[in-house]
Subunit: 432 residues, 2 copies
């Protein structure tokens, strides 16, 4: 192990830096020569995780009835009551205020934006597409696919800094109170993508309570990681639906979730939840595009949860597979970057990501170096609206998909790339 | 059997009419007193039809791989190549120009309209929502859910009469050539809903060839009944994709289909097909709302078709179940209404519906009488834009779901209601 990391690189003199750079360059070369092919790009479950639910592959078997409902035929727009009852408590609403979608909660978010654009929400004076300008608040770093939906429909994105307690509420409150064109805000309230941040009680209370200049302001509450714990500490967040109702904004939250990272990533069930009025509104729009979702798949999920101790027991088994991968990345980063002064990273208690921060202006270079050495990372900037991280500092690390030995190798490779990009940068600064 | 039907009711004198009316009223009363509960409302497959594909309920079993693709995980936006290859020939395009959706082709049609509204097609100067006015041609009678999508998004619907060869092309050509705000036209080209009409070669050629004032005019080609034959005569229609390309309008047709009435109505696979540019365009929009469809379900379909002689063999078995129900309705109508002069109906060679035409101003009354006697029918007017059949004459009969004895009873009931409404009407005319 090199002793490079025992000192803060940023405080070294030029000669020491040159030596460090040479040393790191050699390590990078050695890593690249192993010609590995590793991928830390997306939050995909691993095969072992998917194996936990292989029972789904031969369910429901001969019995296709769900109560009086023939799951094979048309109908049941809102989804099977049995599955709604199983999932509703996770999202803090009653089963009658849950709608089951197809396999992707992203599609439900997209469609909620589409319906708001073309029809307006229950509290809108007109469709959003008739407004001269529409803006969403986007806590950064955040989820690229949220931002893509805004970009797609010409919705202006206003970045808001993330704190350890969630989005910076002083900024949020000021903006939402003063600008009637701010119609929405993306929120991943628990184990956020990519920081793993959990919104504090105070943050959620303030989001529910704050005055909004737009009467039809909506929190797009993507509770994607509601039960996706990485530790034995099962963190619970404040119920957004209750809080909004209590503060007189019952329709403020559109709640989203799915079983994508509970059962099968590509063949789970997505979910919309919200107030009575929001649910009636969503169902009305949805009834124009479908007669109902795939109830056979819903029934598969009901049966699976019934015979496997439910969602919580299943999530324990996911944790057993996932947690060591996260620990390995954190251990490797600590070992190689711990005292370097050129990187910091999050230590999430749940979710699918670690957010790695490098020296300003180095994120793109790290991703490029990693790619050339055989490690695919999410493109730098993906965590920010329009892919533009002005500081070029955030990298999202997704360790879920590769097996543990690959994760270890990849994390080492990333650490070396961080050091190499940093010494390059610091040498430039000295030269400049 | 009453001899009522041996004479044309419309040519009877008042005394004869009164007698006929009394006789029909008694028959209606007798029917109502049986307190049946029958339903001919929607084109739902029967349990016996669904049973044909019960293999799906335990597929794919242990082997979840489709080539190198783990169907359980994220990805494959366009859908499994194997299933695209199986379905593409039915819709007359190559597999690379097929996109697999979720379980409902209606959703794909809805989304194609949404994308056109909010983004514009590949040939649009601007999104349709920025136009002062958008209109679609709607052949009538037609499919209520098509019309609902237009109503939902404020798209003006211009009815076009259906002839035996398809929509009245003289009307269509004149309108499309002269009005640049006509951006779309709904077409069910084969065994149309509800008339069972098959678009002739000439009709399809003219649709493909006709000049359109709107450069981005689109045929919404809902080939829902492409393989849904009711006779041994497997009618083939002219390939719309080839015809459009040949006439210099390669992007004119958006093609839709599904396996809803091939496998499971609620758990099949929907499909979009079209030109290379249309497919690229659709995929781009779709990539904003999903990472991919349910590939496990796609794999189920691949395996089912592989082991059951493919789609055609399966459709033969559907026909064996469906054809007798249609024959029974036609026989019953012939028996009770054949010479009455107060009704005519279609004799479809495929699809899911019979269109029944009654005396002007009688359709609503027939549906009401039927309901009161225990037979649910699709609401009168549903076959027309905004539910408004100005002549109040069309009723859609859907005999697929009930078992054969119920179909027979229901058809008798409907026939009696038609006679009762007609004698009421004719007596009113005499009085007036």
């Amino acid at each position: 192990m090199s002793n490079l990391t025992s000192l803060d690189l940023t405080s070294r003199g030029i000669a020491e830096l040159r030596a460090a750079h040479e040393d790191v360059r050699r390590r990078y070369q050695a890593f690249a020569e192993r010609k590995l092919k590793l991928n830390l790009t997306r939050g995909k479950p691993s095969s072992k995780q998917l194996d936990l639910c292989n029972e789904l592959l031969s369910l429901p078997g001969g019995d296709y009835m769900a109560g009086a409902v023939d799951t094979r035929n048309y109908g049941e727009l809102q989804g099977l009551p049995e599955l709604r009852a199983q999932l509703a408590p996770i999202f803090g609403v009653s089963p009658d205020r849950v709608i089951l979608g197809d396999n992707a909660s992203l599609a439900l978010m997209h469609d909620a934006v589409v319906y708001s654009m073309l029809k307006g929400t229950v509290d809108s004076d007109k469709p959003w597409s008739r407004e001269s300008r529409i803006a969403f608040l986007c806590p950064v770093p955040g989820y690229d696919r949220h931002f893509s939906i805004c970009a797609q429909f010409g919705i202006e994105m206003i970045p808001v800094p993330m704190l350890d307690t969630g989005p910076d509420m002083a900024v949020v409150e000021q903006l939402v109170a003063s600008d009637p064109q701010i119609k929405g805000m993306w929120c991943v309230p628990k184990y956020s993508n990519p920081c793993g941040t959990v919104y504090s009680h105070e943050t959620i209370e303030r989001l529910a309570k704050m005055p909004a200049a737009a009467r039809d302001f909506r929190l797009f509450w993507d509770n994607a990681y509601a039960v996706h714990h990485l530790t034995h500490e099962h963190i619970e967040i404040t119920n957004i639906d209750e809080a909004c109702a209590r503060h007189g904004h019952p329709n403020r939250a559109f709640i989203f979730g799915s079983t994508s990272k509970v059962t099968f990533a590509g063949a789970g069930v997505g979910l919309f939840a919200g107030s009575k009025d929001n649910v009636a509104w969503y169902l009305k729009q949805m009834s124009m595009r479908t007669i109902g979702g795939d109830k056979v798949n819903q029934l598969r999920h009901v049966r699976l949860f019934n015979t496997n101790g439910g969602v919580a027991a299943l999530m324990d088994r996911h944790r057993e597979i996932l947690a060591p991968k996260f620990e390995q990345v954190l251990k490797t980063f600590e070992q190689h970057l711990g005292d370097s002064g050129v990187a910091r990273w999050t230590r999430p208690k749940g979710g699918y990501f670690i957010s790695l921060e490098v020296l300003d202006g180095c994120a793109k270079r790290v991703v490029q170096l990693a790619k050339e050495a055989g490690v695919e990372l999410t493109p730098a900037g993906a965590t920010h609206p329009l892919g533009k991280d002005a500081q070029d500092r955030f990298i999202r690390i997704a360790p879920s998909f590769p097996e543990l030995p690959e994760v270890t190798q990849a994390a080492e490779g990333v650490a070396v790339c961080v050091l190499l990009a940093a010494t390059e940068k610091l040498l430039q600064s000295h030269a400049g």
